[in-house]
């Protein structure tokens, strides 16, 4: 049974399948495992960040600090490894701890100082970006044999495509995200808070702890995305990934999650990421289109989906009265 609340997700999925089909008709090569493998690798860091963003938006919040935290993490990791000779794993761990604590702090401010998430994470965005500049304003390249081994690890598909370690990390994050959202009490609490925070509180949901955990999770995943981004570019640069949070939000919304919170699926975000990747790939294949077309198409899709969501809400509100009475 398709719930009305899953309708946006189903629509996105349908749009993706159709769009992919059309692309393949024009460029049969786009069906190759090579293209798919690259698509996953290229969007790995964005996908990981978008999972955290989905939890935040499901709870009715927003996290604008994501891009800056990614940049901070990447510079931090690069400097730790490049300049201080720290082992990569130690650097990764330190970066994850910092980004998670940063998320915790923002969550606590949102909950206990009652400052809107938009404001808190906007401040977080400037803070993390500034901290990244403090660490280094240059692009810091990294070379370490451990990292080379990591990047050399992949699963080969028939047809020559590669599922890289980076893509695997993203797929694991999505899989875990789906389970956490749909099968744990924490996940249920996230939906509850996003539905109506007062009601959730009156039903005994630990709103404070959950809010802090949501932003901690988003911080953690931003840190992880930063590590993946560092590996992907083999460098750290404080000016990188400006506005990635907006791409993540776009993926979440296109994936069918309501910006008002309480309704949506992690799997939808995955399709949202794939759709964005597909558009980029198409532009590469076409060769004549400017890459700005990606933004234009994403913009159009966003409009379409927001209108679609509004329509669904409006329609179900209107039907409600009638349906209710039929239930009796």
């Amino acid at each position: 049974m398709i719930h009305a609340r899953n309708l946006p997700f189903v629509t996105t999925l349908a749009i993706f399948v159709i769009a992919y089909g059309l692309c393949v008709l024009q460029f049969p090569n786009m069906l190759s495992t090579r293209v798919i493998g690259n698509l996953l690798t290229d969007n790995a860091f964005l996908g990981i960040a978008a999972v955290g963003m989905t939890f935040v938006i499901l709870s009715g919040g927003i996290d604008l600090s994501v891009g800056s935290v990614i940049a901070f993490t990447s510079v931090f990791v690069a400097v730790m490894i490049g300049s201080f000779g720290v082992h990569p794993l130690t650097a990764f761990l330190a970066a994850l701890v910092i980004s998670t604590l940063f998320g915790c702090l923002m969550g606590a401010m949102i909950r206990y100082l009652l400052i809107p998430p938009f404001v808190v994470t906007l401040a977080g965005m400037f803070l993390a970006r500034g901290a990244a500049y403090l660490v280094s304003t240059q692009s810091v390249p990294i070379t370490h044999e451990f990292i080379d081994t990591m990047l050399g690890f992949y699963i080969r598909f028939p047809g020559g495509g590669r599922l890289t370690l980076l893509a695997m990390v993203m797929l694991v994050v999505f899989a875990v995200g789906i389970v956490v959202a749909s099968r744990t009490r924490f996940g249920a609490n996230v939906y509850a808070i996003g539905g109506n925070i007062q009601s959730a509180e009156l039903m005994g949901v630990p709103v404070g702890a959950t809010t802090i955990r949501i932003y901690a999770l988003s911080g953690f995943l931003s840190g992880l995305a930063g590590i993946v981004y560092t590996l992907y570019t083999s460098s750290g640069y404080s000016l990188a990934t400006v506005g990635v949070e907006l791409d993540a939000i776009a993926a979440v919304v296109i994936g069918g999650t309501l910006l008002t919170g309480g309704v949506g699926l992690i799997a939808g975000t995955f399709v949202g990421i794939l759709l964005q990747g597909l558009i980029q790939t198409y532009i590469v294949f076409d060769g004549t289109l400017s890459s700005w077309w990606t933004k234009i198409v994403i913009g159009i899709l966003l409009f379409v989906f927001i209108v679609l969501q509004r329509t669904i809400i409006w329609y179900s509100d209107r039907r409600l009265a009638v349906r209710q009475l039929k239930e009796v």
Partner: protein
């Protein structure tokens, strides 16, 4: 005032000297409350007396300023609803407290989902939800979203949840406000069973019949102070009412004997609906409403009462028939069109979508009038103040502070403000769906009086109500619905509660007047 029997036996739940102020204004002052196990205890008082506030303090929603709470004689101090729940206190608050974006099963088990290997076990959750709801005669799809069910069903679900998680104490704040008689009966059966099992139950309600039917003891609050606590069997109803109001109640009822027998004597109808209906909603009906007339609509839940109102107000579009006002045909195809024809509608679900919480009482009252005039012609603030003050006075909205954000008012007082919002627009036809639910017995009389006055000034009124006494008290005529059809029309001498019940059951003389 309390029976001072100092035996070693501790009360189940005891509160001593509870005090609470909001912004320096006391809402509760030195209130004592004692609940025994295996007792149904009614907590009564006027709108704004402090009942909900006391409940919220006992269950960890509000922090008290003063006082102590004992559970089984041990001091407790729940800081959150979750903590109260672990102590075995389950509560249904007056506000709708479930989540529309979750399924029924998810709502029932939020925060205490059955788990296997750390994962929510959806199958067990679904099965247990079904068994849980069966006790209330609800055979619904527990995987459907809560938003697809009526207020009454949601209320039952909220009660089922609270009952299931209350090991010791169950608190119900106006649980019956949106239930019909049959559902109330079902609920009371469950409450009696729980009482047998030793659960202590606190129930807040404005229906005194229900108090006498189910409660063992009552505690009455007035203006945030304890008036007293009595055993119900030793307390005559009139004494109870004067405990609540601090004065005697004046009753109004309409004298149907003195009224003209046939409706035709009342002058030409000004609003006529002919053969008006919509497929799948309400079968076509004729309805003529004269100026100053009060038409009641009775029927069981789901008989088409609210649908009739939706049709009259243009929320649902009629697919047959015509509407005429003063002989001129009009098309009421949308609520906007209805408002343009000076119709007003106060829906049943005002609890959820009526109020704009952050706006002041005055703004909330002026909202519909402003919409009617259009946003280009703003109501001057002095006019707004005048309107607000006059309605705060006539409906006895408390506290009488027009600038206070409406979310800080008690539930019943919010309801009065919503009623005022429509009265302010001086409608030609006002449709009220369950106008006095959640309103205390004193204000109830005030509202009926007000309706009387407005009608004498020429306003027509359609009142939908499941309280038959209310209908017979205010209506000149009552239309009885059954199975989405108008099956009878009662007026004059036929208009009695018995008559309505017989018409609903289909055994009375059901020929239309």
């Amino acid at each position: 005032m309390r029976d001072e029997d100092m035996s070693v036996q501790h009360a189940l739940l005891e509160a001593r000297g509870i005090g609470k102020s909001f912004f320096g204004i006391p809402a509760l002052d030195e209130v004592d409350f004692t609940l025994q196990g295996g007792e149904i205890h009614a907590l009564l008082g006027e709108n704004g007396a402090g009942k909900s506030t006391l409940i919220k303090i006992l269950t960890g929603v509000y922090r008290r300023d003063r006082g102590t709470i004992y559970l089984h004689g041990n001091e407790v101090s729940p800081d959150s609803v979750a903590e109260a729940q672990t102590l075995g206190i389950g509560t249904v608050y007056q506000e709708v407290n479930l989540l529309e974006n979750l399924t029924v099963a998810e709502n029932l088990f939020l925060g205490r989902q059955p788990r296997r290997f750390g994962m929510i076990d959806r199958r067990t959750m679904r099965d247990r939800s079904k068994t849980l709801l069966q006790r209330y005669g609800l055979n619904i799809d527990v995987d459907a979203l809560l938003s697809s069910f009526s207020v009454a069903i949601r209320q039952l679900i909220a009660i089922a949840r609270a009952v299931d998680l209350s090991g010791k104490v169950l608190v119900l704040d106006e649980p019956t406000a949106s239930l019909d008689a049959h559902e109330v009966k079902g609920l009371f059966t469950v409450l009696r069973q729980l009482r047998e099992e030793g659960v202590g139950i606190v129930i807040i309600t404005h229906f005194l019949d229900q108090v006498y039917e189910i409660a063992d003891r009552v505690t009455v609050l007035r203006n945030g102070r304890l008036v007293g606590s009595r055993t119900i069997s030793e307390l005559p109803r009139l004494d109870l009412i004067s405990m609540m109001l601090g004065r005697e109640l004046q009753h109004i009822t309409r004298d149907h004997q003195a009224e003209p027998e046939t409706v035709d004597d009342r002058g030409a109808p000004s609003i006529q609906f002919q053969n008006y209906g919509k497929k799948g909603s309400v079968a076509p009906f004729d309805l003529d409403i004269r100026p100053g007339e009060v038409v009641g609509i009775a029927g069981l839940l789901g008989s088409g009462r609210s649908e009739t109102a939706f049709l009259l107000f243009g929320i649902d579009r009629a697919d047959s028939g015509t509407a005429t006002i003063d002989g001129e045909q009009v098309a009421i195809t949308s609520p906007e069109a209805a408002i343009a024809n000076r119709f007003g509608f106060c829906p049943e679900e005002r609890k959820t979508d009526g109020i704009v919480g952050d706006l002041s009482v005055a703004d909330n009252i002026a909202l519909a009038l402003q919409a009617q005039r259009g946003w280009m012609r703003l109501i001057s603030s002095s006019h707004k103040r005048e309107l607000a003050d006059s309605f705060i006075k006539s409906l006895d909205i408390r506290p009488a502070d027009r600038e206070r954000p409406i979310k800080f008012l008690s539930g019943g007082n919010q309801q009065k403000a919503i009623l005022a919002r429509w009265l302010v627009t001086e409608p030609r036809l006002l449709i009220l769906d369950e106008p006095t639910r959640g309103i205390d017995i004193g204000a109830h009389a005030e509202i009926l009086k007000m309706i009387e006055r407005l009608c004498s000034e020429g306003m027509s009124l359609v009142v939908i109500s499941s309280e038959l006494e209310e209908l017979t008290a205010v209506a000149h005529r009552v239309i009885v619905l059954s199975d989405r059809r108008h099956v009878a029309e009662l007026s004059g001498r036929q208009l009695t509660t018995d008559g309505i019940i017989r018409a609903i059951a289909g055994t009375g003389e059901t020929e239309a007047a």
